[in-house]
Each structure stands twice: as C-alpha cells, then as structure tokens.
Symmetry: C2
Subunit: 282 residues, 2 copies
C-alpha cells in the first residue's frame, strides 16, 4: 500500500495534519470530521514511543518536531496537536520554529472552561507532564485572573482505559483515589486534560457529581480549527474529491490502531500505514 | 560531566552492558553487583521510549539493536538484556547479528522454574508482548516436555508499581482480577516475567497463596552471566580499579532515574548521563 503525497496548488484543498502520541487524538480527529466535513486529514500516532505523559519537555519537543516535519512533507496546510502533553510542552516552540499554523488542545479547553464556570474554580486532570507544566492555569489566568485552578495528575487512567475497564469497580476505586481531594476543592468545572479521558467520562462524572461540568476539549478544538482556517482563507471548498480524504500513519502496530480507529470513527479506516520516522529523514 | 570510553586491552577488565526499557532492569543490575562484585557495568535505560511491553516485535528489535550498538561503543565485553519483552522479542536476532555474548532474563527464569516445579504446572505473568510471544513455554518445553505453561498478561502492574501503590487495596483488586483464573489452574510455580513485578512480590504472593513458589529471574540471570564469563575466560580479575565501576545512561529523565536507582541499589549512583541514541549514530 503505497500512498503518494498529493501536492495541492490550491492551499485550501491541502489536508490538515493531526498528531498524538497514539490513539487518543482520534477523539479530536472525530470532531474535525463531524464539524468540518470538507476537510481532509493526515493523522499521525506515535505508537512506537507512547505514552508522552511521563517524559520530559525536551524529549516531547524533539518527538513533536520530527512529527511536524513529517506532516509538512505530507503537504498539510495546518497542524492540530491532538495530545495534551505535546500541546503543553511543545506548542510554543513549534509555533516559533515552523512557518505553518499550529494549534493545540489546551487553549480550546481553557476557553470553554473559563466561559462556563460560575464560581471561578476550575479543576484539571491529565498526565504527570501536562499537570506538572501548569499550562492550563497560565491560559485560564490570561482569560480571567480571578480563576483558581486545581490540577491533579491521574497516571492510571490511560492504562485503565486501554485495558477497557471503562465502567469497572477497580477504575471507580482509582477515580475516587484521584478525585476525592479535588471534590473537596469546590470546583464547578473539570477539564478532561488528556485525550483518553473522555472514554472514562461517565465514570468521572459519577464520581464528581452532576454539579461539576466536564469539559472535553476535542469539540472546541475543531471549532478553533474552523476559525483559524476561515481567518487565513484556508477552508476547503471542494468536499469529497479525493479517494482517501483521511489518511493514518503510525510508528508501530498499524493493525491494532486500525481496529481501535474503526471502533470510534464514523468512517471505515482503510488507509493506515506504519512508518519509521528515522527512515523519513525528519 | 563527560565520560570517556576506556578501551580495555585485557577484555576481562571491560564492563558488562545491561539494558532495559527503563528502570526495571536495575533489579537485575543489583543482582550482578551483589554476586559478581568485581564486574564493571554500563547500564542503559530507554526512558524516552518506554514501556516496551505494548509494542511490536519489529519495533523492539529495532530499539534493542540501537542499544546494543551503543553499548558496544562503550567497549562492553558481554550484554545482559534485563528486560523480559526485549529478551522475548530480540534475543535470538541480536545473537545472530552481533559478535558479542548476549544473554536475556527469560532462559534463566525458565531454568529455575523447571527445576523447582513438582507438578510440572508453571504460570508466567508479564507484559502483553512477553506473554503473547509464548517464549517462556518454548524454553520450558525444551527443558522438560511434560511442563504445562499458563500465561497471563498483567498490563496494569507496571503503572501501579510506578505509582508506588505496592501494598494497596486497588492493586490487590487488580491482582485478583488478573490472577484468580491462574489460581484455578493448579500451578505450583509462578515466574515474575517482568522486571517491575518483584516490587509487587509480597502482594502477588498473598494473592497466589504460600503453596505457589514465585520465581524472580534477576538472581538467576546474574548466575548465568557468571557461568558465561567463566566459560569464555572473561571474568574480571582486578576489582575496584576504576573510579566509576558502574555507569548509567538513559534516553530521558536522568535525574528521576538517578533518584530511583539510589533507592534500590546498594551504591551511590552518581554517574548518570542522558544521551540521545539518534545523535549517537547507532
């Protein structure tokens, strides 16, 4: 299965690049497919090096830089970092280094959280890397200095979601361990700051209680992408021209990725290819 | 902190290379330090790309090949793969490709399990990769065709151990979920087929019951290394000549690694250096 790069002389018809450490970013890709159905997507999941949440800023920037170079070789017109850890650690650096519009999932989530909170007390859950970066508080304070932010790293949520224990007493016990302290902090809004967490949404909602609004940044990221493409006159005008509007690349386990993607995307994922970033010269 | 490679004209005085996906292999390094105190060690932990347990054979072989090349540049005389997944997937390939003695942790564990079982029913727990490979059964059947092997992947044990929940009701509930089926299979011996699992040894022992003998391959691997070095006349004769007999390299998070290493090694770990394998040209 050889996939040639199509050069788009009309930049509006070039695809959007989306990347994540693995499969979690598909929840963001799904929202782009739903809300911007004319857009083509090139997705990259770094399944050979996942997870990103327990690695250093320096390493995540290095990995993200390679992926952006790879996506630019696929002739993308804009890039969405569909991974909270990579958004937290690498977005600023990538925006400075590359001459292409790049957005992350953190600012979109922060914006909706700031707009829905009534008591200005917002919780954030995510990986050790994302929470340790304190980046949600930076964004939220810029939007409204009155906001108080309470962060909590929940490292077991990703492996529990990947084990498929979505509504399970063990996962519930882990959620109580992580979230009971957060509940005492009187927050009225909780940002799901990791792309896997929407899979545990109902369980997290039950533990937190119905008075806490859960924010999943995937939808807002799709809207932010639409705004960006509109502003820069990059919105696609001609839907459905290409045989494969959605193409998927991973650095490992292409078959497993395809299986998972088919279970969550409103679309039959055929074009999945394993590539080795080192061989790509990026 | 620059560490120069010392060329050893007497091969017996060259260090032993030990590698793992991260920190787990330190339990093997510790046994080598205890049982072969004259040997020098160069340890590599691939902390930028861990874990290995949920990645493909092809990818693990590629990673392991790079690490062996790096260790050979450090002038090692022999290599110990202190990671069960890498031993399962890469040992045979590496032995064919490189002209240096290489051993893994799987055969050592299999040998002691085969020698202690009375009813010829042995359980193995490990990562998805290790258990899926079926390699323990291959080794055990070669040692004694009567042995029946029951394998069980326990993907949450590593993140639970890294969270530090070693004696915890959540970990106990997870252990029951994974091990209750195994208990019904009438095994009398259980191989801890992942270097993190000895950290959960007492909890696993309680769940399995005192009639099941737990086998931790780290000690046996050190003994196998001694046999190998003796056979090939590579055993060190002059202890304590070098300023830094133990050197540690990681691909990420050197400070965190050092902290963990200091907590489990009978030795003050000073010489820890972060390197980027891609920059090493391996």
């Amino acid at each position: 299965m050889k996939m040639n790069v199509i050069e788009h002389t009309d930049r509006r018809e070039a695809p959007v690049g989306v990347f994540d450490s693995g499969i979690g970013g598909l929840t963001v890709a799904r929202e782009i497919m739903r809300n911007l159905p004319s857009e083509k997507i090139v997705y990259f999941g770094d399944t050979a090096r996942l997870p990103y949440g327990n690695k250093s800023k320096e390493t995540i920037i290095r990995f993200s830089r390679q992926i952006v170079r790879f996506l630019m070789k696929q002739d993308v017109k804009a890039i969405v970092i569909a991974c909270n850890t990579a958004s937290a650690f690498a977005l600023d650096t990538l925006k400075k280094e590359f001459d292409i519009p790049i957005i992350g999932v953190i600012d979109a989530g922060a914006e909706v959280a700031a707009s829905v909170t009534k008591n200005h007390r917002i919780g954030v859950i995510g990986t050790v890397g994302t929470i340790g970066s304190g980046i949600h508080a930076d964004y939220l304070h810029r939007l409204d200095p009155r906001i108080e932010v309470v962060g909590k790293a929940c490292p077991l949520f990703v492996p529990l979601a990947e084990e498929g224990w979505l509504n399970d007493p063990v996962t519930e016990a882990v959620a109580h361990r992580y979230l009971d302290d957060l509940k005492k902090k009187d927050i009225d809004t909780l940002i799901l700051g990791c792309t896997h967490y929407p899979l545990l949404r109902s369980l997290i909602g039950n533990v937190m209680g119905s008075h806490v609004r859960l924010v999943n940044p995937a939808y807002e990221t799709a809207l932010e992408l639409r705004n960006l493409l509109t502003e820069q006159d990059l919105l696609s005008k001609t839907p459905g021209e290409e045989e494969f509007p959605y193409r998927f690349f991973v650095s490992d386990l292409a078959e497993e990725f395809k299986k998972f993607a088919n279970s969550i995307l409103p679309y039959d994922v055929e074009m999945t290819q394993k590539i080795n970033l080192e061989d790509e010269g990026v």
